[in-house]
């Protein structure tokens, strides 16, 4: 899965955390059989929760691409892509990285 965070491809230590884009930290998590870099476990949890929620709502078995725009304060407007199809949504997390708000756009 290709991840674009605030206009930049992310998911590796050099490019930044797949959720927030930060390059601090050294946390890795397998997401859809792909080792992905996160700055901390909370960002990883929030990201995985998001991917799972999209799969649940779309019925897709995996995502080709996830584009995220925003931050912790504003929440994130996102576009998930799979085989030419798009799914747009807004997501915001609580302090435990659980999904607090999820709105389809």
């Amino acid at each position: 899965m290709k991840v674009i965070t605030n206009g930049r491809e992310t998911g590796k230590k050099e490019t930044g955390c797949a959720l927030c884009g930060g390059t601090w930290g050294s946390y890795y998590e397998d997401v859809e059989d792909q080792s992905m870099f996160f700055c901390c476990d909370l960002c990883a949890k929030a990201f995985i929760n998001t991917v799972n929620e999209v799969k649940k709502r779309t019925g897709w078995d995996h995502l080709d691409q996830l584009e995220l725009k925003g931050n912790y304060y504003t929440g994130r407007t996102c576009v998930a892509r799979r085989e030419g199809k798009e799914y747009k949504f807004y997501v915001k997390f609580n302090d435990e990285a659980d999904i607090e708000t999820f709105r389809e756009l």
Binding site: G25, S26, L42, K69, Y72, Y73, Y90, K92, L105
Partner: protein, 303 residues
Amino acid sequence: MSICPVCRFRSNNWGDVASHIHDMTSRSDPPHVMWLNRNLSSREVSSQELAGTLEDYFSLKGGLSSWIRGKVIEKIYGERPHPFILAMQKPNRAVLLGYVIEHRHFLRNWIRVLSMIVYKTDKDDVARYELENISQEFLGNGSPPHYELLIRMGESLGLTRDEIMSYDPLPSTSSSIKVWRNIAETRSWVETMASMHSMELIADKSLRNYGSKMHYFNPSILTDQDYPDAVKKFLAEGYNADEYHAWKALELVEKYSQELGVVEDVQVSFLRSLDALSKYLMARLERAMEFDPNLIKFVEAVT
């Protein structure tokens, strides 16, 4: 004294604090990583570079109150102003209702936390200042209190008083209130005072003189026929407040934080409060989306 803004690890130099933070981030400790991402930079730098950045970030070149004002402007009115502030430049009914519903909870907490300052302080000038503030917010001084003006604004927009009172706070509002209550319960009264009254600065119109690109709301609303009088009365209350009022609390904070030797602690608690404020302001917009789902497009456009 140099201090870690997350866990208050202390040292005589910023090099030690930077090494400590670097060590915590190498272990991906969420609070330390998140603080850096939200306040300094999302780009990892060496301990040496971090020491210099931290020293610069916390240095009080123009005094504590000026430093606080600078951070408020940077966070709320900076390169990307907070979405709620942008929405307040021409707020629709939904934005104002989001404001009313969430702010009612904020104001109830406001007076409770200010009461904690009165309880903890042994300074008469501080107690008097806070008691006057509590009275003005909740009882009014011959005129309707701020809390009542807020409810009337909601009524003028079509909700009944009972409806306004029936809403529980959104999770983001509750989370922020928890932060402020935690500061009040666990930290000194000076830190609590800085944490609470620094938030009043966001509505201080003199911020424009110090680099803020816009006011808390577009002042033309106050004479705009499209807005009900109760909306104008609530907004005008803050806008027309004596500028001295916003600064009086911070003058007291500056004076007593030096006297009690807690300047660095005040800086750290203030930053926690500012973080909670940013989150809380977004809760107002989230509530507004329940009345106008199209506001999500606005949020999308400005983030």
